[in-house]
């Protein structure tokens, strides 16, 4: 167990430049593919947020969440989601999409999930810029608590890396995993506080249990963490139980991912 974790960690840290280069040139290739290039890295999340805002904010006349208007509230949550969702979804394909490389050269396979996360992290930064602009327009000026975003971005990175480690190996064993995950991600979005608070009011039966179950979702911690930092001026140390729970989950997932990766590192070529 420890050897596998050590193996994956050393392989990743020894290959930081490799990870950076692969991520960078893959982004570059994506941009070359289209005429407007980097414009789409900003436009596609902006259009998504706009859609949700028009439907839920305008058409369904959502009340402000607490004392925060719906649009800024949505933008911040969606920024976190815009990192987690593509990371996990393309994380499934991390190893499979590099089939040609891993069958033809000696390649440290365990760095592939990290390249996906690094690549999506760039998109995340683009989305954060959109979020900041929206926040400024809506009158939420920056303050020191915003630094919490760095911590929560790191949380998101650790979580998605752990999940994509597992999923990338499982996808190699069983190609259906990717399709399953694509469908489940949509469900996960509605069970995470991205477009609604994920809080059942008192008139829903079993609302206490339901609310507790919602908090077990690690994405809940990340998305709400983003909002805590921006709106509510609370640091992560103010939720010790949830923080501890989150990191235990991440470490368990990461260990499981490492063990899978270690076990199958030389078998991938036979699984294609």
């Amino acid at each position: 167990m420890f050897t596998s974790v050590k193996y994956v960690l050393t392989e990743n840290f020894q290959n930081l430049y490799r990870i950076y280069c692969i991520a960078k040139y893959e982004l570059l290739a994506d941009m070359r593919d289209s005429k407007f290039g980097i414009f789409w890295n900003f436009a596609s999340p902006a259009i998504q947020v706009l859609t949700y805002w028009l439907i839920f904010g305008i058409a369904w006349k959502r009340k402000p969440v607490g004392d925060i208007e719906y649009l800024p509230w949505l933008v911040v949550g969606y920024a976190a989601w815009w990192f987690i969702q593509p990371c996990i979804q393309s994380g499934c394909n991390a190893v499979f999409s590099k089939t040609s490389v891993i069958t033809k050269m000696k390649f440290p396979v365990s760095v592939l999930p990290a390249t996906i996360c690094a690549k999506e992290f760039f998109n995340h930064l683009c989305m954060l810029i959109i979020a900041f602009v929206t926040l400024l327009i809506c009158g939420h000026g920056p303050n020191l608590y915003w630094m919490g975003l760095i911590y929560y971005a790191f949380c998101a990175f650790a979580f998605t890396e752990a999940v994509s480690l597992i999923l990338s190996v499982l996808t190699m064993l069983w190609r259906d995993v990717r399709k399953l995950i694509t469908s489940l991600m949509r469900m996960l979005m509605y069970f995470s506080p991205v477009i609604w608070e994920c809080h059942f009011s008192a008139d829903v039966p079993y609302h206490n249990i339901l609310n507790f179950i919602m908090k077990l979702n690690p994405v809940y911690y990340i998305v709400n963490g983003y909002r805590d930092s921006v709106f509510y001026h609370t640091g992560f140390w103010e939720h010790p139980a949830l923080t501890a729970y989150f990191w235990v989950v991440v470490i368990c997932l990461f260990t499981a991912g490492c063990m899978l990766m270690y076990k199958f590192k030389r078998k991938f070529i036979d699984l294609i």
Binding site: N15, Y17, R18, C21, I22, Y25, E26, L28, A29, D30, R32, D33, S100, V101, I102, T103, K104, M105, K106, F107, P108, L173, W174, L260, R266, K267, I269, D270
Partner: protein
């Protein structure tokens, strides 16, 4: 199978009773309970390759040459037997790792990074690669605009920057036009003569193999047929190929079928969960 330790053994590669088994897909209509069939890609191969030797690997299509190269380069795991590799090995692969959208110059960085070079090394090698690949102004064009020969030239030039102890070259020199193939061969000759690298060379071109290699290794049907001085092995191999070609169609098919059956093994069914935790 540790390849990192570098002892002073006389041999670069030692294989003992190595087998590699591939799973076969079920034919349509076969019952699921029957269990899957497997196939010996390599069967009970024992060989020793001396350090600094240049080995030509011969064999007909499907005889297991490429599998052997994958096994030797450490990409693929063996199923039976033991394998000792002293020194670092690298498979020279030409077209992998090139990104069609990016320019030739950017691709030097991409493939360089995939091969695991650091930033400094990539900067150092870039000039050499440009010179060797002879792409001219196409260097600044996206690779999708390249002809297949140009692509291979770029890919091969980048691979040359590798400096392992054991080179494994799978059909690599059959790319590009005659002039470039010659240039590559010259470069490999230089490696062979000056740096005293161990080179494993897979090719269907007998003259090329004869010219370049010292030892011949002939595998057929996943088994090692012969290993010895290159000229002898080459002669025996070409005799065999001629004999095969002279056979009437039916007889040849029967023989090939028999050979295939020999390599088959039927094994029990393993479920997804046993694969995961077993």
């Amino acid at each position: 199978m540790e390849s990192s330790k570098y002892d002073n053994s006389e041999y670069a590669v030692e294989l003992e009773h190595v087998s590699k088994i591939y799973k076969l897909q079920k034919k349509d209509g076969e019952s699921k309970k029957k269990g899957s069939e497997s196939f010996y890609a390599l069967r009970d191969i024992s060989l020793k390759i001396k350090r600094g030797d240049v080995v030509g690997i011969l064999g007909t299509n499907g005889s297991g040459k490429s599998t052997l190269s994958l096994v030797l380069s450490g990409i693929s795991d063996i199923d039976e037997g033991t394998m000792d590799v002293n020194g670092e090995q690298a498979l020279i692969s030409i077209n992998t790792g090139l990104n069609n959208q990016l320019t030739g110059l950017e691709n030097i960085n991409v493939k360089g990074a995939l091969l695991g070079f650091n930033k400094k090394k990539i900067q150092q090698m870039t000039e050499g690669v440009i010179e060797f690949a002879e792409l001219g102004d196409f260097l600044y064009q996206p690779v999708k605009k390249y002809s297949s020969g140009m692509k291979s030239r770029l890919g091969f030039s980048i691979s040359l920057a590798l400096d392992p102890d054991i080179f494994i070259i799978d059909e690599a020199l059959s790319v590009g036009d005659k002039g470039f193939a010659k240039k590559c061969l010259d470069r490999m000759m230089k490696l062979r003569n000056e740096k005293d690298k161990t080179i494993l060379f897979i090719s269907h071109s007998l003259p090329q193999v004869k010219e370049f290699c010292r030892t011949g290794l002939w595998i057929e049907g996943g088994k090692l047929m012969e290993m010895g001085p290159i000229d002898e092995v080459c002669d025996h191999y070409s005799d065999y190929v001629e004999k095969l070609n002279a056979m009437p169609g039916k007889e040849k098919k029967k023989m090939l079928d028999e050979k295939f059956k020999e390599r088959l093994i039927v094994n029990e069914k393993k479920s997804f969960w046993t694969r995961l935790f077993g």
